[in-house]
């Protein structure tokens, strides 16, 4: 399961970031922040004609010694980043995809809330609980 889940706005600032409390939060901030480089590179790599049919799932952004960072970008250029532990080899690509799909659905619900201003930090409890189900359970 994920150790850090982040939602990043179109303008590349975090709307939501949550990580397992056992490790330094700032570290994940840096991890996710630098992963945006790869996201941008991946997107720019896709030709403009293909942009419409672009797959939302961006795949593995980069592996580090301890973590693997996966990316996903909605059509409105909101990015989801999931960081999983490198040691967790049981996690397949498909599972990561389904995590992103769940995250996207929940995010859509957040956006549907008439009281939510796009661009504001996400404070939805429903979203939070969805994220919780995907996070490594802190013991």
């Amino acid at each position: 399961m994920a150790v850090c889940i982040a939602v990043i706005a179109k303008e590349n600032y975090p709307l939501y970031i949550r990580s397992v409390p056992t490790q330094g939060e700032l570290k994940f901030h840096y991890t996710v922040h630098t992963s945006l480089d790869v996201v941008e590179e991946k997107i720019s790599g896709v030709g403009k004609a293909l942009a419409d049919q672009r797959e939302l799932y961006l795949g593995l952004l980069y592996p580090t010694e301890d973590y693997k960072v996966y990316g996903y970008m909605t059509n409105s250029k909101v990015k989801f980043v999931i960081v999983v532990d490198s040691s967790n080899t049981s996690l397949r690509d498909n599972e990561i995809r389904s995590m992103f799909r769940k995250l996207h659905n929940s995010f859509t619900d957040v956006m549907c809330n008439p009281f939510y201003n796009p661009g504001d930090p996400i404070q939805s409890k429903a979203f939070d609980s969805i994220v919780s189900t995907m996070m490594v359970q802190a013991f």
Binding site: E25, L26, D37
Partner: protein
């Protein structure tokens, strides 16, 4: 080999390495001047050939790196240029010895060397030596470049001979086994006759020849040799050298494809001779599989004639393959722990190639790999260098965030706790360079519009580090600036606790170095713009307040020839101006102390008077009035305010404020006018009936009483007072007023004009209250139950009364028992002084000062009944008056030719006065004024007034309250 050269790029493989070193004591700046001139000779076209030799100069080169020269010949120091000072011929032998000593260091690899001697003249300098050049001074050495070119050519000759020598090496049956330093002990006792060993020797030698060809400018030959080396080495699993051969192949191909170079240095290279511009397009993938003539390979030697293996351009790798081969080479290097530096450098070279190919993703993989290469124990300096280079490379491939991350790591490394002398300056400099990567600029203007952009958590961290680093490097001004910036831009992202900490440390810093509005320039040219605290406090609205009425200047209307018609009716005075802002403190979690707040104006001659305020946390809007004084006439633009918070002073411009519509306002300043201060003999009253009044007095009078009020006017301005006018206006009242309410004599005061600054004049004003209290039915009813009426009175009132006032404290309403006397009437009037003088008068302005006078009139004496009795003389009659004292005081009543009558409080007595009879008809009632009165009723009133006056003068009834001074009042009655 332990020291990686992070600057290396693929085309360095074709260079020859020349070390330029100072010898003895050479001034550093002189040395580097010479060094610069030497290194300008970076490529030399060789005579009689199409080839070009590239030279790489180093002024420092670790000898242990030189030991890897066989592995990759561009690592080999082949030339040495020593620069030395030598002033006397005596020193020369010593210098010469040292030069030989220096040559020893790189002795095994040197092809040639030169010594440049500066300062020596005379006999010694005359000698012609190829390896030594003498120059009289550092400034007088015109042919250094030429010398170096000759030197390079001599190197080329050696290189070329070595290349030919090696390529045709058939001496004996055995090839020498080239090896890298750490391999040497592995080959001890190895069977040198085995086929495997021979192949290995051949492969390595091929690779070596390839290197030499590349250096000698024979790119195609090099490619062929490399291909052969790859084949040979692959077959014997000599991975390290296979890697080197592959890398050589890559380098040669890169040089072919990218004649402009990959290092990113603009114009560093001229296009290589061998490269055809369109060659890159012609090549095919898989070019390395070009047929290599197997006949060229003999078991013992390498065929000299590589031209038989014409692969030419086809031998060159495609752009795709370059990367593939680099990968393979690196993975081969990776098998040897001691080749870490080689691996790292290969990674860096590959990244540079990929950056040119704009394949950032693959480049990042190479970099990622480079990060994990373990070079063993690195010194702190090397770590810093390594992180910096990683950062630069990430920047190169457009990964700005990653680049910033590594730069920050490098910065932190500069001040690692293990370093005895932390380099805070270097740390700070590196941190500054990370700013763009975190989309952070240090200009607060970029943050003033809209929502915050960027990743607050990491930006916050960086700012904190900047603050800390700048403090540690001993520049408190910088840390104050950064901390202010942090507070201003990141306020929304700070928790209450953090806000508290930040503000506390800011106050700590500013106690030593107050923050200001000046632009801080850093030595490297970066400018830190000032940070005005527009959010601490937040200003929501700003409006200009008019002056108090007494100070407001007025334009003289109808004044001809002044040409000031354009002035609007609202003109602000040169003396004081108020601007009012509604302030709100931000959630600082504690009191926000704004130690100074004042108007910020673009005009120079404007003195603004600071105000201090303390806003409680989470306070709502809080009005603040700021005052300023302009010093000259003209227009003043008010475009902001100035605050001093936490020891940081800031000029906040209104136009930059979020939520404030106004972007400043214009104030017209008229020339200065005198200023009068008014004080009166009576106590001031808090009651102001109108805002226009500058001051007001209130007093109580009994009806009929007269009191003198002395008004003292002092000129407290700087201008001379020239004119003074006094007018009065009684505020509309329903009461009927007899006689003048306010009378004065201005003559005396006017005689004192002009009034200089500081002088004062007094104006006596008489206040007399004469009111008709007769209309108060209930009062009269109380007094006279029998409902006496005086018949034949021309007025509608049933009774006449005489009122004689004297005031003291206000009895009305203070006691319930006195309610029946609660018949106080109020008179109000405004005395207006118009005055002018000084420069303002010339321009046609004046000031008004108004004094409100409020008089509470209490009833005093009533005549409850009036009748007459015939007297002894027929020309006279007795006037019988029933007099009622409605005051609480004992009073005496006196009339003409009559004795005083003492009346106790609330007492009614009859007094008889003997008076001459007179006839109203004989009075010339209708004067001209009266005739003009429009209505009959007004005529009637006028007539009554005249009659009343006549009666008054006849009767001259006075009353005196014994405990006070005397008052007098008219009676008004009928014969």
């Amino acid at each position: 080999m332990s020291v990686p050269d992070y600057m290396q790029c693929a085309e360095d493989h074709q260079t020859v390495l020349v070390v330029v070193q100072p010898m003895g004591i050479v001034p550093e700046d002189q040395f580097f001047r010479i060094y610069k001139r030497i290194s300008s000779v970076s490529q030399v076209s060789i005579r009689d050939s199409q080839r070009v030799l590239f030279i790489r100069y180093r002024h420092h080169y670790p000898p242990e790196n030189n030991e890897w020269g066989d592995f990759q010949t561009h690592r080999k120091v082949v030339g040495l240029i020593s620069v030395t000072s030598c002033n006397t011929a005596k020193e020369w032998p010593q210098t010469s010895d040292r030069f030989h000593g220096q040559k020893e260091v790189f002795g095994s690899t040197l092809y040639d060397s030169r010594l440049l001697v500066f300062g020596l003249q005379g006999e010694v300098a005359e000698q012609q030596r190829t390896d030594v050049a003498f120059y009289p001074s550092y400034d007088d050495c015109p042919d250094v470049e030429k010398r170096v070119e000759d030197f390079v050519e001599s190197i080329f000759i050696v290189l070329e001979s070595k290349r030919l020598d090696r390529a045709t090496d058939k001496s004996g049956d055995k090839l020498q086994l080239l090896c890298v330093p750490f391999e040497k002990k592995d080959f001890v006792g190895l069977d040198t006759d085995s086929r495997h060993y021979k192949k290995r020797c051949q492969g390595r030698m091929r690779k070596h020849v390839g290197d030499l060809c590349l250096q000698a400018g024979m790119l195609q030959d090099a490619l062929v040799h490399y291909h052969m080396a790859v084949e040979l080495l692959r077959s014997v699993n000599d991975f390290l050298w296979l890697g080197a051969a592959l890398e050589g192949l890559c380098s040669a191909s890169v040089i072919f494809h990218y004649p402009g170079g990959t290092s990113g240095k603009s114009g560093a290279r001229k296009p290589g001779v061998s490269s055809a511009a369109d060659a890159g397009k012609r090549h095919r993938p898989g070019a390395q599989e070009v047929l290599i003539d197997p006949g060229a390979l003999t078991t013992n030697a390498i065929s000299a004639d590589t031209s038989t293996e014409i692969g030419r351009a086809k031998n060159c790798l495609s752009q795709e393959d370059i990367i593939e081969k680099y990968k393979e080479a690196i993975s081969n290097y990776g098998k040897y722990k001691s080749a870490g530096v080689i691996e790292l450098e290969a990674c860096i070279k590959a990244v540079r190639v990929l950056a040119i190919q704009k394949r950032a993703m693959e480049a990042s993989e190479f970099l990622q790999n480079a990060v994990y290469i373990n070079l063993g124990q690195l010194s702190e300096e090397e770590k810093i260098q390594r992180y910096s280079v990683l950062s630069e490379l990430y920047e190169l491939i457009g990964f700005h965030r990653k680049s910033a991350f590594f730069k920050r790591v490098a910065a932190m490394q500069c001040v690692a706790p293990t370093i005895p002398e932390p380099g805070w300056k270097a740390c700070y400099k590196l941190l500054l360079e990370t700013l763009p990567g975190y989309s952070l600029s240090l200009d607060p203007k970029d943050f003033s519009k809209g929502t915050h952009r960027g990743w607050a958590a990491v930006q916050l961290r960086l700012l904190h580090e900047l603050v800390y680093a700048s403090r540690r490097m001993g520049n408190p001004g910088l840390s104050v600036r950064h901390l202010s910036f942090l507070l201003q831009t990141m306020l929304d992202f700070l928790s209450d606790q953090e806000k508290k900490e930040v503000t506390q440390s800011l106050e700590n810093y500013t106690s030593k170095c107050p923050g200001g509005m000046e632009v801080i320039s850093l030595p490297d040219g970066l400018k830190l713009p000032p940070v005005p605290f527009t959010k601490l406090p937040i200003v929501r609205s700003v409006s200009l307040l008019n002056l108090p009425a007494s100070l407001r200047p007025h334009k003289v209307k109808g004044l001809l020839g002044q040409g000031m018609s354009s002035a609007s009716p609202f003109i602000y005075s040169p003396i004081t101006m108020h601007s009012r802002g509604d302030e709100r403190s931000k959630k600082i979690g504690e009191y926000l102390h704004v130690s100074k707040m004042s108007i910020y104006s673009s005009s120079v001659d404007f003195e603004s008077l600071p105000a201090a305020l303390s806003l409680p946390a989470e306070s709502g809007l809080y009005p603040v009035t700021l005052v300023g004084v302009p010093r000259t006439a003209g227009n003043i633009t008010i475009n902001g305010y100035h605050t001093s918070v936490f020891g940081v002073s800031s000029d906040c411009l209104l136009e930059g404020l979020v939520g404030v519509k106004s972007s400043g306002c214009m104030v017209e300043v008229v020339p200065s006018l005198p200023r009068l201060q008014l004080c009166t003999s009576l106590p001031r009253s808090a009651h102001l009936s109108s805002e226009d009044l500058s001051t007001s007095v209130s007093l109580q009078l009994f009806n009929g009483e007269t009191q003198q009020l002395t008004i003292t006017l002092e000129n407290i301005g700087t201008e001379m007072l020239n004119t003074l006018e006094l007018t009065s206006k009684t505020l509309s009242t329903k009461e009927k007023l007899f006689g003048e309410f306010l009378t004065w004599d201005l003559q005396d005061a006017l005689s004192h004009l002009p009034l200089k600054s500081g002088q004062s004049v007094s104006i006596p004003v008489n206040i007399s209250a004469k009111l008709d209290f007769s209309g108060q039915e209930n009062l009269l009813h109380d007094l006279n139950d029998d409902g006496i009426s005086v018949t034949g009175l021309p007025v509608s009132s049933p009774l006449r009364q005489v009122l004689k006032p004297r005031a003291e404290n206000k009895p009305v309403g203070t006691d319930a028992s006195k309610n029946e006397f609660n018949h106080v009437k109020t008179l109000e009037a405004v005395l207006t002084f118009k005055y002018s003088g000084g420069a303002g008068e010339v321009e046609g302005y004046y000031r008004e000062l108004s004094l409100g006078v409020r008089v509470d009139v209490e009833p005093s004496v009533f005549f409850t009944r009036v009748s007459t009795l015939p007297a002894t003389s027929t020309r006279q009659c007795h006037l019988l008056l029933d007099v009622f004292n409605s005051t609480e005081h004992e009073l005496t009543l006196s009339a003409k030719n009559n004795q005083d009558l003492v009346l106790h409080a609330s007492e009614c007595q009859r007094m008889a006065i003997q008076v001459d009879k007179f006839d109203f008809d004989s009075i010339p009632v209708m004067d001209h004024d009266a005739l003009r009165l429009a209505t009959v009723r007004q005529q009637e009133e006028k007539r009554q007034q005249v009659q009343g006056g006549l009666i008054n003068s006849t009767l001259d009834i006075h009353w005196t309250i014994i405990s006070f001074t005397k008052g007098s009042c008219p009676d008004k009655t009928v014969p």
